[in-house]
């Protein structure tokens, strides 16, 4: 049934059974998709309705207003939060791309002592629940005085086994004859890396970059722990705080949610391919 060629003798393309089946399939899949996307629409609709309550919100708001957004921008440091989030996601992504391409290449293409052990060690850290390491890391950073700082926010997120795994697989898939040819052409190990293999890894780097950026942008747990006041909040933590402050003003809260969600959705829709490839290759949601 799945993914097969349907153009074969004896396959019925008409008749009641065929049409019933087809209708049910489409109805189920499309109905489900609408149900799945409805919360997004409701978020947007609520955020542009003056006094939102379930009864007052219609699928298409009749008098859309940007009041909630204005109120949000005038009372909350949205710009600062945006900036924090971009610094956070941007620097984590940059560090990851650099560090992980180095390690990924070494683990795939350089013969060195204990290579397989290093790899296993790094990969086994994927099993560790985040909380196990976040408590001691917090205690450690508190001693350094890094709580509520950018460096405290960024540093622990650089250690990322997923990125190493993804790039190692990618480099491993490239022919080792290229490296041999480069050695004969006169490259040393480092030159072989950045003159021959790294330019070939651009698609993988794009995948990893987009994936890491979105996952870091969305990270809620660590910023919640390390940021102690709203000057260091990232958008997800800020949303949590806004909801706690304006408990009954759902219009405002939904406007805040929309501000976080929309950029991610836009990035995703334009770079869906990269993101999904990153996810299937690495197999882990942040």
């Amino acid at each position: 049934m799945p993914r097969s060629n349907y153009d074969y003798p004896g396959y019925e393309r008409s008749g009641t059974t065929y049409w019933t089946k087809t209708t049910l399939l489409y109805a189920g899949v499309i109905g489900g998709a609408l149900l799945w996307s409805l919360p997004f629409w409701w978020m947007l609709a609520t955020s542009v309705t003056a006094n939102p309550s379930a009864a007052s919100i219609t699928l298409l708001p009749s008098n859309p207003t940007l009041d909630h957004y204005e109120a949000l921008f005038s009372t909350q440091p949205i710009g600062k939060w945006f900036f924090n989030t971009i610094v956070f996601a941007g620097s984590v992504t940059a560090f990851n791309l650099i560090f992980d391409s180095l390690a990924g290449y070494a683990l795939a293409k350089v013969d060195f002592i204990g290579r397989e052990k290093f790899f296993l060690l790094f990969m086994s850290t994927m099993m560790i629940p985040a909380m196990v390491t976040l408590i001691p890391v917090y205690v450690f950073l508190a001693k350094l005085g890094w709580v509520n700082t950018y460096q405290g926010l960024v540093a622990p997120m650089i250690a990322n086994p997923i990125g190493i795994f993804l790039l190692r697989q990618h480099f491993k898939g490239m022919p080792s004859a290229l490296g041999d040819a480069a050695k004969i052409d006169g490259c040393n190990e480092l030159q072989t890396f950045y003159k021959v293999y790294l330019p070939l890894a651009k698609p993988a780097l794009a995948t990893l970059g987009i994936y890491t950026f979105i996952m870091t942008w969305n990270n809620f747990q660590w910023p919640l722990i390390i940021a102690s006041d709203d000057s260091m909040y990232t958008l997800p933590v800020a949303l949590f705080s806004v909801r706690n402050q304006f408990f009954t003003e759902w219009g405002l809260v939904m406007a805040a949610a929309a501000i976080i969600v929309m950029p991610v959705i836009l990035v995703f829709l334009s770079a869906q391919r990269y993101f999904i490839r990153g996810m299937t290759l690495s197999g882990v949601k942040g």
């Binding site: 022919p175 290229l178 041999d180 040819a181 480069a182 004969i184 490259c187 030159q191």
Partner: protein
């Protein structure tokens, strides 16, 4: 310029805690300007040998000299070699020009104009001038092959190393490239070590062939030597297609007792066997040397035809009698049926014998020094003089 020599070269790998010897005490002398083919089944150590010469692997023991220098610990780029890889190993992100000039940029101080000049000369030699600005992805297999050759040629090395460079081409292109490679070799004059698993390629291209098996050198010699005077049973079976037939036998009283029949020997052959310690021998005869005959005789035997493989110019007969199976290649224009019975002769001057324990050749077939009819000196043909 001088020879490249390998002396007692050994390469060990560790596999599941055991040492595996990939290349064992290999000694080779690659003469200046020659085309040496390393041939053998997969896993015989031929590619490892090439990688050892290139400096892509470190040798465990022994010595490699290129020219007068021992290069055991010399980096690949300083060995004055160039290599052509099986899958070409072209840098996908560089143009053809970039691929060809990369080695010169990295390993020499040549000025840019000089590099451009050399790249363009090589491109002209290979007639790929109009491809210079393309990327490898936009090239056909045959074109990529030429670029890979070009990259080696611009280095102007003392020694070319080629690792099954034709194995990814289709049959027709491979035959064409075989000839082109030889012409190129003659023009450039640098020694070439060429690795292949294909004995036809080895026979047609090599000035000399080195046959390897299980990490050890079995025989080194001209193609004709390997074909007519194989040093052992392995070489005899490996060189030549279809493969030589082997029949086990015991030498008693001047006859070899085979399961098929008792085969009489000539005086010289008898003398060769008698000088051996053991009388267990394996008799070898190539399918093309077996003859069909009407006359009964001491060297003939009747056999059942099991399968006929028509090849056009010849028929390949798979024959059987008392559990012994052999193949014979006979002229293709006659019809042989699979239910037929045939009488075949093993001509006395065409058989080989090998020691059954060691596999070493006891005697080989005779090889006529006569030249075939129809060969004339050029003066005898007036129209040729022009």
């Amino acid at each position: 310029m001088a020879d490249t020599t390998l002396t007692d070269v050994k390469k060990r790998f560790e596999s599941d805690g055991n040492d595996v010897v990939a290349v064992d005490e290999l000694s080779l002398d690659i003469e200046d300007g020659e085309f040496l083919v390393l041939v053998g089944p997969s896993g015989c150590g031929k590619s490892t040998t090439l990688r050892l010469i290139a400096g892509l692997e470190t040798i465990s023991d022994g010595e490699i000299k290129i020219g007068d220098d021992v290069v055991n610990d010399v980096k690949p780029k300083d060995r004055d070699i160039a290599m052509v890889f099986q899958n070409y190993a072209l840098y996908p992100q560089r143009t053809v020009r970039g691929n060809m000039s990369f080695g010169l940029k990295m390993s020499t101080d040549l000025p840019d104009e000089k590099i451009t000049e050399r790249v363009e000369d090589a491109a002209e030699l290979l007639s790929i001038t109009d491809l210079l600005d393309r990327r490898p992805k936009a090239l056909s297999g045959g074109q990529q092959q030429r670029v890979a050759l070009g990259r080696a040629i611009v280095r102007d090395p003392e020694l070319f190393l080629m690792d099954e460079p034709l194995s990814n081409l289709d049959a027709k292109l491979r035959t064409q490239m075989r000839t082109e490679l030889q012409e190129l070799h003659q023009q450039l004059g640098a020694a070439t070590v060429y690795v292949t698993h294909d004995q036809t390629e080895a026979m047609t291209m090599g000035d000399r062939i080195a046959v390897l098996d299980d990490g050890q050198l079995q025989q080194i010699g001209t193609p004709m030597e390997c074909y007519y005077e194989p040093a052992n049973q392995f070489v005899a079976g490996f060189i030549g297609s279809p493969s030589m037939n082997f029949i086990e036998g015991v030498f008693v009283d001047g006859l070899i007792h085979l399961d098929l029949f008792r085969y009489p020997l000539t005086d010289e052959q008898r003398a060769a066997i008698e000088s051996e310690d053991s009388n267990s021998v394996t008799v070898g005869i190539r399918p093309e040397d077996i003859e069909l005959t009407d006359e009964d005789g001491p060297r003939t035997v009747e056999m059942d035809v099991n399968v006929v493989e028509p090849m056009g110019s010849m028929n390949l007969l798979h024959l059987e009698r008392s559990g012994v199976e052999i193949t014979a290649s006979v002229t293709g224009e006659h019809i042989v049926d699979e239910s037929d019975c045939v009488r075949v002769r093993f001509p006395a001057d065409r058989i080989h014998a090998f020691d059954r324990q060691t596999g070493a050749a006891v005697f080989n077939r005779e090889r006529s020094a006569d030249r075939p009819p129809g060969i004339l000196s050029r003066e005898e043909v007036p129209s040729h003089g022009r």
